[in-house]
């Protein structure tokens, strides 16, 4: 069995960085022209399937947002100008800029400084159809030394472009769990820009199961030294689905850290996943530590996983920088080991896939979500690996 390790680009330069990794964040749509599809940041995306989401027209649709917000947390709406004044990282591509431009208003979730929440903050977006596109812009602000856990759940059917800014102030700790469990016809593009404060700790979990096309980009930068970001992703692509997760961590401050692990399984004809992990270590970012990893498990013929880790290093004065990428089918040696203990081939495959994902699932720390994801993995397995052969087979 072959393990393909994607060649990564590594460049060490002393001065200016000029590359697709280094987009200048801006709300100005003119700075984000309509892509042709050949650009580095668009070349994996099936642009035609995004429909009107890349067009500069105000989408007419709305999506129903249900928020369970504990006492002490403010959920309000502001204008785009007021939102821009809150700070945070501006859009890094056209989709983010369009979402910000056309969102009817900006939802702001404000967790005041020193608030230690034990309750989960829960926001559900429930799509009602794909007839009209929807643009949303949300700002999540976690005040100094606050700690909070947020669960953002997307479901239903939608044509949805969202822009989320997360501003994590100094010393705050936040767990952000996003679950994209869309209906089969949903098209979802999302950009989540996370600004990590001095000594703040952010854990982001991103789970994508449903949808026709899901393309998310998570962009991380630091507003002070010592910030820590962990990004975990889990995805399961079925026949015809395009699931694309893009990450960009900009180590623009010293002694910051990032740890990224995304794992996916693919099954069915033209199931397509894309994972892009871009890490930029700027000259100023001495003493940083970064690691990123993507693993894909291909469960059937006809599926394709693209996996591209990029590491751009402008200073050698760092604690560590590493990456790994592997795309493979079942490991024959693992299956042999399990089967040599009497476990049937299907049961062995089931154990391996559950184990593959459980490494991530058990880190989420929200029992309800963990249980649900294990059930989801089981349901996905039933479609292929565990499927009983039909009478004609």
């Amino acid at each position: 069995m072959a393990t393909l390790v994607t060649e990564a680009l590594e460049t060490v330069r002393n001065d200016h960085v000029e590359s697709h990794l280094h987009t200048t964040p801006t709300f100005d749509l003119a700075a984000h022209p309509t892509p042709s599809g050949r650009e580095e940041i668009w070349r994996f995306t099936p642009l035609r399937r995004l429909g009107s989401l890349l067009d500069d027209v105000a989408p007419g649709g709305r999506i129903e947002l249900q928020a369970d917000v504990p006492a002490g947390v403010a959920w309000s709406t502001v204008t785009a100008d007021e939102a821009a004044a809150l700070g945070g990282i501006a859009p890094l591509d056209r989709l983010g800029a369009l979402a910000a431009l056309h969102a009817p208003q900006v939802g702001v979730l404000d967790i005041p400084a020193d608030t230690e929440l034990t309750e989960l903050i829960r926001v559900r977006a429930i799509g009602a159809g794909t007839a009209d596109a929807v643009a949303e812009h949300t700002v999540i602000r976690v005040g100094r030394h606050a700690s909070a856990r947020l669960l953002l759940e997307n479901s239903g059917s939608a044509h949805y472009n969202e822009f989320v800014q997360v501003i994590v102030e100094d010393g705050a700790r936040v767990d952000l769990v996003t679950i994209n469990d869309w209906a089969d016809d949903a098209v979802h593009t999302g950009q989540t820009n996370i600004l990590v404060g001095r000594d703040a700790e952010v854990r982001h979990f991103e789970v994508t199961i449903g949808g026709d096309v899901v393309r998310t980009s998570t962009n991380v930068a630091y507003s002070g030294t010592g910030g820590a970001f962990e990004g975990f992703g889990l995805y399961f692509a079925d026949a015809g689905q395009h699931i694309e997760h893009r990450l960009f961590v900009d180590h623009n401050q010293p002694k910051t850290s990032s740890n990224v692990v995304y794992k996916g399984a693919l099954q069915g004809e033209r199931a397509h996943t894309v994972w892009i992990g871009n890490i930029l270590i700027r000259k100023v970012a001495e003493g940083i530590e970064t690691y990123e990893e993507n693993r894909n498990l291909i469960l059937s013929d006809g599926a394709q996983a693209d996996s591209v880790p990029n590491l751009e290093i402008e200073t050698g004065e760092i604690a560590g920088a590493g990456h790994a990428s592997a795309t493979a089918r079942f490991d024959d040696e693992q299956l042999f080991y399990l089967r040599s203990r009497g476990i049937s081939e299907k049961e062995a495959q089931r154990l391996v896939v559950h184990g593959f994902f459980d490494d991530l699932i058990r880190r989420i720390g929200i029992a309800e979500v963990e249980d649900k994801l294990r059930v989801t993995v089981e349901a996905e397995l039933a479609k292929n690996v565990l499927r009983e052969p039909g009478p004609g087979a």
Binding site: Q334, R339, R341, G342, I343
Partner: protein
């Protein structure tokens, strides 16, 4: 009752230069309750014998037969062989990330017995088996073989042997890489297993060291894909004194 009969077993593997024959007609019978040691130099095909009997897909059987209590093992899938009563303790146990030892052991036991073990006694049995091999209670929460030391992997293999309780156990270089204390602990586990009536053991080793703790009924010298000589426990002493040279010369 348990009897493993290997008759004229011939096995090849695929190489870049085409198929290469590794086993050139192995005949060996492990009768009810017997322990046999197979000793031989590196590259003689000892491990190939172990993996072929267990059914590893890398090895292609081109001739011969393997009977467990009269049933043809070679016609069974890997998991069927295990359920029929064969167990292979591997030299290099495989990591299975994210699958806990507890989950793995329970799944295997359920598969072997055809029903889930009784929860209360099972947990006690697992803790005892792990404890007997100096593996502490937290061990069952770890992922199978992931981050285990060499010694932990081997002790985990023998814990499985005791819990799954097969008819015939093949131990592939279980002694390699163990310090003397771990070797004693592992040997005690094997001796507990074969202390039960009717259990067969095929002990594959390069060194005589483990035979001080596990007394074999028969010793076979394995050279160039076949049994070159068979004898009693005294044959191991001779190998200890004189090495494999005389057999290697004869095989050329």
């Amino acid at each position: 009752m348990s009897k493993l009969e290997i008759k004229d077993l011939q096995v090849q593997v695929a190489t870049e230069d085409g198929p290469k024959q590794i086993l050139k007609g192995v005949t060996l019978t492990i009768a009810d309750g017997e322990t046999h040691a197979i000793m031989g130099p590196n590259g003689s095909g000892k491990s190939t014998l172990a993996y072929s009997v267990a059914g590893h897909p890398k090895y292609e059987v081109t001739g011969g037969s393997v009977l467990l209590d009269g049933e043809e093992v070679l016609e069974m899938s890997v998991d069927e062989r295990a359920r029929a009563g064969l167990f292979l303790a591997m030299q290099y146990p495989v990591e299975v990330p994210g699958v806990s030892v507890a989950n793995f052991l329970r799944t295997a036991k359920t598969a072997i017995d055809g029903e889930a073990p009784k929860l209360r006694t099972w947990v006690k049995d697992v803790n005892k088996a792990l404890g007997d091999l100096n593996l502490d209670a937290t061990f069952s929460h770890r992922s199978v073989n992931e981050g285990f030391s060499g010694g932990e992997k081997k002790r985990h293999e023998i814990a499985q042997l005791e819990l799954l309780d097969p008819k015939v156990a093949i131990l592939d270089e279980t002694d390699s890489g163990l310090d003397i204390d771990a070797l004693k602990v592992v040997s005690e586990g094997v001796n507990r297993f074969r202390g039960q009536p009717g259990k067969g053991v095929l002990l594959i080793t390069h060194y005589t060291r483990i035979l001080r703790y596990i007394q074999p009924d028969h010793v076979h010298v394995f050279v160039d894909g076949r049994v070159a000589e068979s004898g009693g426990a005294e044959l191991a002493d001779e190998l200890e004194a004189n090495g494999y040279d005389k057999y290697l010369v004869a095989a050329r």
